[in-house]
């Protein structure tokens, strides 16, 4: 199906894009890679009057080193993020999750910022963003503000970005030398996870020095498995210790029940997936 008619602008700077948003308010919609928005428009679930395409704003694209963080431009395509050496070195968990996201064609178009701004609770990037304590840089009429991952995801498809704002980049504190593993359960190829666990860990002398775990599709927003993290910090990186701690993976979760599985099922399977993800991460970290 074909979208309802709309007007189209493709500004070449963030300032112009913000001005267009300001002028048109909630009649306007930002277009990034279009891999979530265009299906919505084609199904006529939404019919904005104006599409503001960020695709011509070069400054929003690319990955750069900024001291203790790497910075991923909102319009950087998944395929570029997944192949970037800075991401592999300092935020391996992101590279692992991107490799599992959608299919090659969608990864060529879909963007890092677009996927996070979309805030699908089943999205593959929310868990890693929370686990790595990403910082979201948001530009608006009053200037730029930075929102931590814990406050960015508000609800189903809802983030801290307001209608007159644009996500410009995501800062990820360096997790150099951390092992990482993304465990994703799907029933069919190239789809959103029924449940996913993103784990990253630092190991020193056989002990889990630090660990962070993000969950997808276990609630209306991506979650942190803080109980498991707490139980494992300072513990030996052994299978028994990990197995015992991962029993807490569903603490505080409120997963959906749907055709793919009940909430009860997800609450169980997340403990199994969490174990695999943590073991993968600590092995990757040299345990």
């Amino acid at each position: 199906m074909i979208p309802a008619p709309f007007d189209y602008v493709a500004p070449s700077s963030v300032e112009e894009a913000l001005a267009a948003l300001q002028q048109h308010g909630d009649d306007a919609k930002i277009l990034a890679g279009g891999q979530s928005l265009l299906p919505v428009l084609r199904m006529r679930l939404n019919a904005p009057e104006l599409i503001i395409d960020l695709g011509r704003i070069d400054s929003l694209r690319g990955v750069r080193d900024d001291g203790d963080a790497i910075v991923i431009g909102a319009m950087t395509p998944h395929s570029v993020v997944g192949a970037d050496p800075l991401v592999a070195e300092h935020a391996l968990l992101v590279a692992k999750a991107v490799a599992h996201l959608a299919d090659a064609q969608v990864r060529h178009r879909g963007t890092f910022g677009g996927a996070l701004a979309h805030a699908d609770p089943a999205g593959d990037l929310g868990g890693p963003a929370r686990a790595l304590d990403a910082q979201f840089v948001i530009a608006g009429p009053a200037g730029t503000r930075t929102v931590p991952a814990d406050d960015f995801f508000v609800d189903l498809f809802e983030t801290a970005i307001s209608e007159d704002e644009i996500l410009t980049e995501v800062r990820i504190p360096k997790h150099t030398g951390w092992g990482a593993h993304h465990e994703k359960m799907v029933r069919v190829a190239h789809q959103w996870p029924i449940c996913a666990v993103a784990a990253t860990a630092r190991v020193e002398g056989g002990t889990i020095a630090d660990i962070a775990i993000g969950l997808a599709n276990m609630g209306s927003t991506p979650l942190r498995a803080r109980g498991v993290e707490e139980a494992l910090r300072g513990q030996p990186a052994t299978e028994d210790a990990v197995r015992a701690a991962c029993g807490r993976a569903a603490e505080g979760a409120n997963p959906p029940s749907d055709l793919n599985g009940s909430a009860e099922y997800r609450n169980h399977v997340v403990t199994v997936m969490c174990r695999r993800a943590v073991l993968g991460a600590v092995q990757g970290a040299g345990a």
């Binding site: 199906m1 074909i2 979208p3 309802a4 008619p5 709309f6 007007d7 189209y8 493709a10 277009l31 279009g34 891999q35 265009l38 299906p39 428009l41 084609r42 199904m43 599409i51 395409d53 695709g55 395929s79 959608a102 299919d103 090659a104 064609q105 969608v106 060529h108 178009r109 190829a189 190239h190």
Partner: protein, 170 residues
């Protein structure tokens, strides 16, 4: 209407289009390039795959206006001087199709896969083609066609769709 200028299969084209026009619609309805087909409503099937600046995309999920200033290659732009592209040739040699509806997309995605990974394993081929659905073949001969195109298989000479044998590395 928005003016767009782009290159399609090596030809410069320029048109006024409605911003809501999908790239696949533009290719088929404005340019008559009906080799690129539409197989679904949900951007799942991959039948519409083309290359945008050399990288595979689902042309049902790109607006024609987003392709302004860019370079598009469709299945119709692959053969040169009447000779099939090696991946097209491989699909023919290995009988990588039955009804053929998924084939344009399969070939475009296979080329993209081989551009990034010239010697993929069987598993890497299956994962690399995960965004392309086939209702007929069960994928086996499609995977073989990609192995053949990458030089990892030699087809049994003369047997149409014949059993291809794996090349044993020396």
């Amino acid at each position: 209407m928005t003016r767009i200028n782009l290159t399609v299969d090596g030809m410069k084209v320029s048109d006024d289009v409605e911003p809501r026009m999908l790239l696949v619609q533009y290719l088929r309805e404005k340019l008559g390039k009906t080799g690129t087909v539409v197989g679904c409503d949900t951007s799942n099937c991959g039948a519409c795959t083309v290359h945008l600046d050399g990288e595979s995309v689902k042309s049902c999920n790109v607006l024609a206006v987003q392709a302004d200033g860019h370079d598009v290659t469709t299945i119709e732009g692959l053969a040169k001087d009447g000779r099939l592209h090696p991946v097209q040739e491989a699909f023919r040699e290995c009988h990588g199709l039955q009804c053929g509806f998924c084939t344009p997309g399969m070939i475009m995605q296979s080329i993209d896969l081989l551009n990034h990974n010239p010697q993929p394993s069987e598993q890497e081929i299956r994962v690399g083609l995960e965004g392309n659905l086939c209702r007929c073949t069960g994928y086996h001969n499609i995977v073989r066609a990609v192995q053949y195109a990458s030089g990892q298989l030699v087809a049994a000479a003369g047997e149409a769709g014949g059993v291809a044998e794996e090349v044993t590395p020396a």
